[in-house]
């Protein structure tokens, strides 16, 4: 448990990381380092995208599963690890 906290802290302190959001299966944020409104916004939007992406991957081959999702945009990059949905900007 402590190791998890430490890892989170280390990731957060890396240069370029804006924030971390941890979201549970329903899309409700559990832990976040951003402000509330951004968190809620991100959580809602990303959750649907992850569902869709996972559904896509598995529709093609049911034995496959989504392991990681990265969205690169002009200004930043969103990294999503599904299952428990950790998102880092």
């Amino acid at each position: 448990m402590a190791e998890v906290e430490e890892t989170l802290k280390r990731i957060q302190s890396q240069k370029g990381v804006q924030g971390i959001i941890i979201v549970n299966a329903e899309g409700i944020p559990i832990k976040t380092t951003l402000d509330n409104s951004s968190t809620v916004q991100y959580a809602g939007l990303i959750h649907q995208l992850v569902m869709k992406a996972r559904s896509t991957v598995r529709d093609i081959d049911p034995q496959n599963d989504l392991t990681f999702l990265r969205i690169r945009s002009k200004k930043n990059e969103i990294m999503i690890a599904p299952e428990s949905c950790v998102e880092i900007l």
Binding site: V4, R10, I11, Q14, M51, R58, E83
Partner: protein, 797 residues
């Protein structure tokens, strides 16, 4: 008799023959009159029903449906009420929708009169009308349907000659009212609309079998016979004793009506999405769940088992959306009554649980690595000699142009580019700052894994040592951290079992760690061993003995040298135990060779009979021969088969030797470095060094041959790091990299796969440098090295 099948509904109008009061609805509301029909022909029978409405009167309709019911009464010429009774009573609640047919003003529409004047003589009318209504029912779209019907009707209307016997009773059709403006309606009239009339199944409403048989038919004879028999019977019946008349009365029980009321059945819509993978999942888990649950009925254990099933098999099952868990329930609900209880508790795992779960940690781990990869990508790519991906957004376009121009100009001036070191990154974290890097070792199997030992050299400031295993993929935090009681002075990874790491410490303890596990404790510790070292262990190495010596197993053994003068070989019997391969005796000079076991001493008082050993190296091809360096500055060549006597001794250094290494390419050349500021190159058969290198007046702590080129080696002294290329120059180092001020460089390691050098310093940082523009020529330069040696020797003679 015409049977009007008109369905009369609520709107009632008293229609008398003379009345002309008609409601003309010209509103835009398009309704089909329920009871509107139209007939083309007015039969003669019509005259019997003498109600006449103006032929051009419009179809009346109530302007609003909600007006109370009007019933149409038809009065015969005699005033009798011959209002046809409706065959079908529609549901009063469904009055809302009505059809009204609005005909254009010029068309003579079917009117009430027409309605009543319809004649349908055929018995099939009923069915036909039914069919038509049914098809009307079937037509889904309202306006077009009605419009089309209207059109068809209007078409028919315009055809006066055709006798249409069909009556369209539209009273049953309940279609939504639509408000259409009259203008649009006119246009719609002109449209061509396709109307598809489909004949529906024939319903048999009445079946009257024939009661007469034709004379010609086959059964005629038998029928005739039966008939005659019957007539005879009837004749015989009267007055016959065989037959008696009897009367009966049946009781009709009094009937009683009974009412039952039931609650309205509430319907709820449920929907679920069955994806490909959803079905696959439920199939898999249902198959597994059934097997386990059939044996156990305890709810708690079921929960546990489902938990187990879900956990390892599919990570997302546990936190899967409720949809799939509900499908699991539904698919196996017949057998598992318990399961529905389990599912709700599972579907919302605790946030704490998530944070603690293994998968979460794994994800975090991966995430961290990815972020770091983002950050370090150019450096890592340079390390692995891959083309670096340029970040397309970061650099403005103007800069590279300027830079390239400058580069070109500088290139022109200087000629071929000079070899240089480029600093890529350094392994360090806050745990390691302030500690002295004492040794580094690559993992033999995974070339990305580096073990670094931290420990002080000097005796006075000892603190607990640290061993960190770093991975290239994460330069900011080590993968494994092992704390040891005393400073770490030596490290080596085993080659046969690549996860074993041997650690030698300042207090003489040797421990082996298993790097794969996350345990912080060593696998084996030598503190309990009787023969353990009593002084700092300066070097450990795993050596593979190909030739089995007597009584010993072939395989890998751990050899260590320590300051108490012993070179010991460790093995695992019952616990870690060692035997001494060699005791390093003190030798004053080569003229005095001490005898074995002699206790005579010179007049000097020696603290110990033995010389502290600082380093050793086994011959790369012959694992029996090894070199050992002592604090006195002597190099002893020893053999494993003789543990009492040295084979040779090389004396040249005036200070303690810190490192001896055989050349990986030339099998009888070795290098040694010591604190007397020099590095010496030796050949096995010569007792004086072939070449000596000195660049600064600092103790040289570490030296290592390059694994790629035979003429290149690196050396680290207190103030700087040097790369020597003997092919280029034997007097000066080719590349010199000074250390940061205040920091002493203590160890050096070449990377095996790439052109990189790792340098450890006294501040706990391990910096990775890449050799740039370094070309020692093609091939391994073995020939060059030998030439150099040969020429040097020749010049010395």
């Amino acid at each position: 008799m015409s049977i009007p099948t008109a369905k009369l509904k609520k709107p009632t109008l008293k229609v008398t023959p003379s009345s002309r009061a008609m409601n003309i609805s010209t509103s835009g509301i398009l309704r089909l009159n329920r009871s509107a029909t139209y007939a083309r022909s007015i039969n003669a029978s019509v005259s019997r029903k003498s109600f006449c409405l103006a032929a051009d009167s419009k179809i009346l309709e109530k302007s609003s449906v909600q007006t109370p019911k009007h019933t149409i009464q038809v009065l015969d010429e005699n005033g009798k009420d011959v209002t046809p009774r409706p065959v079908y009573q529609p549901d009063p609640a469904a009055v809302q929708s009505k059809h009204s047919k609005i005909f254009a003003s010029d068309t003579s529409g079917g009117t009430m009169s027409d309605f009543y004047s319809t004649t349908y003589q055929t018995t099939t009318n009923a069915s036909f009308a039914g069919a038509f209504t049914r098809s009307l029912f079937g037509s889904g779209s309202v306006s077009i349907g009605s419009q089309s019907i209207m059109e068809s009707m209007s078409e028919e209307i315009e055809d006066p000659s055709s006798k249409r016997d069909n009556s369209i009773s539209l009273s049953d059709v309940q279609v939504k009212r639509e408000e259409v403006k009259e203008l649009i309606q006119e246009e719609m009239l002109d449209d061509m609309v396709d109307l598809y009339l489909v004949e529906s199944d024939t319903l048999c409403l009445l079946d009257m079998p024939a009661i007469s048989v034709s004379v010609d038919s086959m059964e005629a004879e038998s029928v005739k016979e039966r008939n005659s028999r019957y007539t005879e019977l009837c004749k015989n019946r009267t007055g016959n004793d065989k037959y008696m008349g009897r009367s009966m009365q049946t009781f009709n029980g009094a009937s009683k009506t009974k009412e039952v009321q039931s609650e309205a059945i509430t319907m709820a819509d449920a929907a679920t999405i069955a994806n490909n993978w959803d079905m696959y999942d439920s199939f898999c888990s249902a198959g597994q769940g059934e097997v386990d649950l059939s044996t156990d009925t305890d709810k708690a254990s079921i929960a546990e088992m489902i938990h187990q099933n879900h956990g390892p098999t599919r990570t997302m099952e546990r936190t899967m959306s409720v949809i799939s868990s509900s499908t699991i329930v539904s698919s196996s609900s017949s057998r598992m009554e318990m399961e529905p209880f389990v599912v709700p508790s599972e579907s919302k795992p605790d946030p704490e649980l998530i944070l603690q779960s293994e998968e979460f940690q794994q994800h975090l781990f991966v995430m961290e690595r990815i972020i770091l990869e983002n950050i370090y990508q150019p450096k890592l790519a340079a390390y692995r000699q891959l083309p670096t991906l340029e970040d397309p957004d970061s650099m403005p376009k103007a800069v590279p142009m300027v830079v390239s121009r400058r580069e070109e100009s500088s290139l022109d001036e200087e000629g071929p580019p000079t070899p240089a070191l480029e600093r890529l990154w350094s392994f360090s974290c806050e745990l390691t700052t302030g500690r002295n890097v004492s040794s580094m070792a690559w993992n033999k199997r995974n070339p990305d894994l580096l073990a670094v030992g931290y420990g002080q050299f000097a005796f006075k400031d000892q603190k607990p040592g640290l061993v960190c295993c770093w991975s290239l993929k994460n330069p900011s935090w080590p993968e494994r951290i092992f704390t040891c009681q005393s400073g770490v002075t030596a490290l080596d990874f085993s080659a046969s079992s690549a996860s074993m790491l041997a650690v030698g410490m300042h207090d003489g303890t040797i421990a082996t760690y298993n790097v794969q596990s996350r345990e912080k404790t060593p696998v084996i510790d030598s503190s309990d061993c009787v023969h353990k070292h009593t002084s700092p262990v300066w070097q450990v190495r795993w050596i593979n003995h190909e030739r089995a010596l007597s009584g010993e197993d072939k395989g890998e053994a751990l050899i260590s040298v320590s300051a108490d003068g012993r070179i010991s070989k460790w093995f695992l019997r019952k616990g870690l135990d060692c035997i001494d391969l060699m005791k390093l005796k003190r030798t004053r000079n080569d003229r005095f060779k001490r005898q074995v076991g002699e206790k005579e001493r010179k007049s000097e008082a020696l603290i110990s009979r033995q010389a502290p050993g600082l380093c050793f190296d086994f011959h790369p091809t012959d694992s029996n021969i090894y070199l050992a360096g002592t604090e006195e500055g002597h190099i002893h060549k020893c053999s494993c088969s003789y543990n009492e006597q040295f084979l040779e001794t090389y004396q040249a250094h005036k200070g303690p030797l810190y490192r001896i290494t055989w050349s990986p390419f030339c099998s009888d050349v070795f290098l040694s470095c010591s604190s007397d500021w020099t590095i010496q190159l030796w050949r096995q058969d010569l007792f004086t060094p072939v070449l000596g290198f000195m660049s600064t007046q600092r103790a040289v702590y570490d030296v290592m041959w390059s694994p790629k080129w035979a003429t290149v080696f690196g050396a680290v002294n207190e103030g700087r790091m040097e790369i020597w290329d003997l092919g280029a120059s034997i007097l000066d180092p080719t590349i010199v990299n000074p250390a940061s001020p205040g920091v002493k460089l203590t160890s050096l390691l070449f990377a095996t796969e790439t052109d990189c050098v790792l340098v450890g310093d006294s501040d706990g940082q391990v910096s990775v440098y890449q050799l740039k523009n370094f070309t020692a020529g093609e091939g391994t330069q073995v020939g060059t090295l030998e030439d150099i040696i040969g020429s040097t020797l020749a010049s010395q003679l």
